[in-house]
């Protein structure tokens, strides 16, 4: 009796195997729609797509190493209200963690979704992925994973993935097992929740086993990631240890707020920076310039970043969409993860770990942080 199924892979064509899984989910009416990465009409780019017709799954590519924008945010659009239908959604672990946080903010309803995740070896920026896609076509995912599973560090993964210490999520309903496995030969999919188990049972697929080497491979991977993470936190902790340091790190910032738009954890319906609060009276600029001698425009650059940290650093899952979206290639992820490591530690909070864990600033205890207000 196993919680896993085995999808045979023919000649390294993992997409064929995955198509079988997703088509079965639709054909057996386990779900009425699937949401997963799919190759676009140009044949190369991959975008998350909502599919209802199992005959339209030809171009699926869930393991393509690219996530152009936060899939958590996209899935929250699809589940912002309770729906009449059930859906299966493929999410990277970081996107699932962000999605869990959005659920706490009532911007996502998880109950109607069968979450399928994977052992994640990272993603690339869209332009780097396109180079891979031009070279390998629909085999890009396999080409990437072959090298990634062998520990090839030369793959152009984004910095966020290099420092991600949560490459798996055991709270998702189903998970692809890639670590310690041979996806070129067979794909193992395991259920991690009751919903996952009943979904697999309905699909009636060939039973599989957890890859024996997985835990060891996972431990080694997490250790390596933690080392890189700590090196990053040390570097950015030092470079951004003063306001002037932060100012200089953000020196090409133009207040476009792309990082905020891309961030799945930025939850405000109306960002304060888009309100009259920041539509300063011309006299205000004149006064600032008078007080300091000069004033750089746009104003409120460092102020924006620190405010955003105050609002969402406890929810930051390190997905790196902020850096991906930045037109100036600023190290937004590094700066925010540095702040987040402090605020999350202060509250003993790991975002996305559990839907039952309340957001740290939405609760309080009678006796806590008593050292803050020496009575």
């Amino acid at each position: 009796m196993t919680d896993c199924v085995k999808l045979p892979v023919d000649s390294g064509n993992i997409n064929d195997a995955l198509r079988g899984l997703f088509a079965a989910l639709l054909e057996k009416d386990v779900v009425q729609a699937v949401f997963l990465p799919m190759r676009q009409p140009d044949g190369e780019m991959v975008m998350h797509t909502l599919v209802r017709d199992p005959a339209e799954l030809d171009d699926l590519d869930p393991l393509a190493p690219v996530t152009p924008t936060s899939a958590a945010r996209l899935l929250s659009l699809l589940t912002s209200k309770k729906a009449s239908y059930r859906m299966a959604a493929f999410l990277r672990p970081c996107d699932y963690r962000a999605y869990v946080e959005l659920g706490k903010l009532k911007q996502a309803h998880r109950e109607q979704v069968l979450i399928i995740t994977t052992d994640c070896l990272g993603r690339m920026e869209s332009k780097d992925f396109l180079e891979l896609a031009v070279e390998h076509g629909d085999r890009a995912a396999m080409a990437f994973h072959e090298r990634a599973l062998q520990g090839d560090d030369s793959l152009a993964r984004i910095p966020a993935c290099r420092v991600c210490e949560f490459p798996v999520h055991d709270g998702a309903d189903l998970s692809l097992r890639l670590l310690g496995a041979d996806p070129g030969r067979e794909l193992i999919v395991c259920a991690q929740t009751d919903n996952g188990r009943s979904a697999l049972f309905s699909l009636d697929l060939e039973a599989g086993q957890e890859p024996k080497g997985r835990q060891k491979a996972l431990d080694a991977l997490v250790q390596a990631r933690i080392a890189e993470r700590d090196a990053m936190l040390k570097e950015y902790g030092e470079r951004a240890s003063s306001f002037a340091g932060l100012r200089d790190l953000m020196k090409t910032c133009i207040n476009c707020y792309n990082c905020r738009a891309a961030c799945p954890a930025c939850y405000c319906r109306e960002c304060v920076f888009l309100t009259d609060t920041f539509r300063h009276d011309p006299e205000q600029y004149f006064r600032w310039a008078g007080k300091q001698g000069t004033v750089k425009l746009p104003t409120d650059t460092v102020f924006f970043h620190i405010t955003r940290m105050l609002h969402m650093s406890t929810l930051c899952v390190g997905c790196g969409q902020c850096s991906t979206a930045c037109p100036m290639d600023l190290p937004v992820m590094e700066i925010f993860r540095t702040a987040a490591s402090r605020t999350q530690a202060r509250f003993g909070y790991i975002p996305g770990r559990s839907p039952e864990e309340p957001l740290p600033l939405s609760v309080f205890e009678d006796q806590e942080f008593t050292e803050l207000a020496a009575d």
Binding site: A244, R247, Q292, R342, T343, F364, F369, A373
Partner: protein, 140 residues
């Protein structure tokens, strides 16, 4: 710049700390004029962004004054304030703002003398720290 008097911005709750400040005045308790009082209905309505703004505009110290835990006029505003101050201390601490520049104090309506003492103590401590980096550097 070096001998400048520090500016302390104090967000004080209407029911407790502000009333204590009033009592300090009528009781003729002496305290330095460095503090600028901003009356809030509750310490729980102090948005962390207000504190950030105060520092960015040149405040050398920020005080948040509220009712003692359990005595909040709105039941739990001060508990929320306490968590927000923990958050602020982490973020502002990352960028080098000294811990002793952001104070959270529970000062009840009858504690006029404690209000005056708190302002005296804070002014002295903050003066010793000198002006903040945000006063010396142009950071916008």
């Amino acid at each position: 710049m070096s001998d400048q008097e520090p500016i302390i911005v104090a967000f004080v709750c209407n029911w407790c700390t502000f009333t204590a400040a009033d009592l300090a005045g009528t009781s003729r308790h002496k305290y330095p004029p460095n503090v600028r009082l901003i009356r809030m209905m509750c310490s729980g309505m102090v948005d962390p962004t207000f504190v950030l703004k105060a520092f960015f505009e040149g405040a050398d110290g920020v005080l948040i004054g509220g009712c003692h835990p359990g005595d909040c006029h709105y039941i739990n505003g001060n508990y929320k304030a306490r968590r927000r101050v923990a958050l602020l201390k982490e973020i502002l601490g990352q960028y080098g703002l000294e811990e002793d520049r952001l104070w959270l104090r529970w000062i009840g309506a009858s504690e006029g003398n404690i209000f005056a003492e708190t302002i005296r103590e804070m002014t002295e401590k903050v003066k010793a720290l000198g002006p903040t980096e945000l006063r010396r550097e142009r950071v916008a």
